[in-house]
Amino acid sequence: MKTRVGIEKARVYPTSLALDMNKLCAARAHDPADIRDVMMIDERAVNPPWEDPVTMAVNGANPMLSEDDRKNVDLLIVASESGVDQEKPLSTWVHRYLGLSPRCRNIEAKHACYGGTCGLQLAAAYLASPSAGPNSKALVVTSDQSRTHFGKPWEFVMGAGSVALLVSREPNLLEIELGKSGIYTNEVSDLTRPTSRVETGNSETSLLSYLDALENAVADYLARVGEPITYDYFKKNIYHIPFGGMTLRASRAALKQFGSFTKKQSDAIWEEKTRPSLRYARRMGGTYAASTFVALLSLVDHCEELRAGDRIGMFSYGSGSCAEFWSGLLGPAAKEVAKAAGLGALLAERKQISVREYEDCERERVAYIDSGDYEPSTDGLGGWYDEHYRGKRKLVFRGCQEHYRQYAWS
């Protein structure tokens, strides 16, 4: 009998601060309609100074894991392009603060926005293999934060967040169709992070590379399926979200490989199959490797018509580059899993901040990021630390002492 593997549970950590794009547009004298209607972004997530990629990863996964999960996870992959150390992997801190078993492989994986999807596919392949024990589970976590880009045209597509995926042989949220995967690798320096402060490149090159990779990955997927299919093979389609507007272009490009559609038909298909996946992403901004999974929770939470067994097309693109077009079947408890993840409530409880507060948070991180001795301030943001963190048992970053990173429960 074929092994069923996939995502048993998922949970997103959308940070605890939100910046309204209308405020940022006003501050930068930019047309808000462009950001709202073309780029399709309403808010972005912002990290207070006491959050970093480790705390986001832990605070995303921790509430989701049962004691049995912690005992049975024997593979931990943390995917990020925002690593805090060149040698020590994020996964070691995440492993420690999640209280996972010592008998657990752990690794930090890097492939821009593709790292999470690659981690998920590798974890699924592990669980489907004889290497895994009868109770083995895997945990794949992505955790990312943008760098600082005040006043640049691309400042509007920044963001932060993490997603945790518990991968097992009980794919209650999404069963991965093993082997139904179109893959395309092509070396390109479209976007890079050459230092701890710089995030650079050319956005047009990156978007062209995204579309090129998508077309090639879809062609490979079609060859893998091995029988003629139409776009209706998929009940819904998720495309990597550097910003929501890109999914419309991606959907049009993918559709060209399934037949001939007018622009009106093509846009109506995007409206039905992809637009509902953007609801949460619109409120987080760029979430890098988390974006397709944030989109999956959005679909499940907002599409009443979805049923167990419905096929979802998933496309991930990571700069550098690698892309994968794969598919999964909705699991029997998808709606319950998404409800338990509670992303809508987590987004609603964030503190709305001013442009000044956002700039202060970013400036503080830029100032301390390479410093070996510092302590992030917890007294700003109108007492937000005391209100939202103190006594709530969230992992917080306490700073560095002689370059040793300090973490504690709030």
Binding site: E204, L208, D212, E215, R249, A253
Partner: protein, 89 residues
């Protein structure tokens, strides 16, 4: 393939991207932005044109373009080079 055929491909994709643009009435001396395309539309037009013409152009070349004629010249030159390479022994 002639330059005119390359122009037809580009104009077809531009008219698809920009609502209300009449393909029979496009002034190729203007930039795509002036013709109503936003930056995402331009990426889509270039990507779709390259795919249909089965060619790839480095970004450094694309960055130098100022108008539609320039893009068509560049695409046409690349098509010719690609055809010459295919014919080479």
């Amino acid at each position: 393939m002639t330059r005119e055929q390359v122009m037809t491909v580009v104009v077809k994709h531009l008219a698809e991207a920009v609502d209300g643009l009449d393909p029979a009435n496009i002034d190729a001396s203007r930039s795509m932005k002036d013709l109503g395309a936003n930056s995402l539309d331009i990426v889509e037009v270039v990507s779709s044109s390259m795919r249909e013409l089965k060619i790839k152009i480095p970004r450094s070349e694309l960055a130098k373009l100022t108008n539609l004629d320039g893009l068509v010249d560049l695409l046409f030159r690349t098509v010719q080079e690609s055809q010459a390479q295919a014919k080479a022994p």
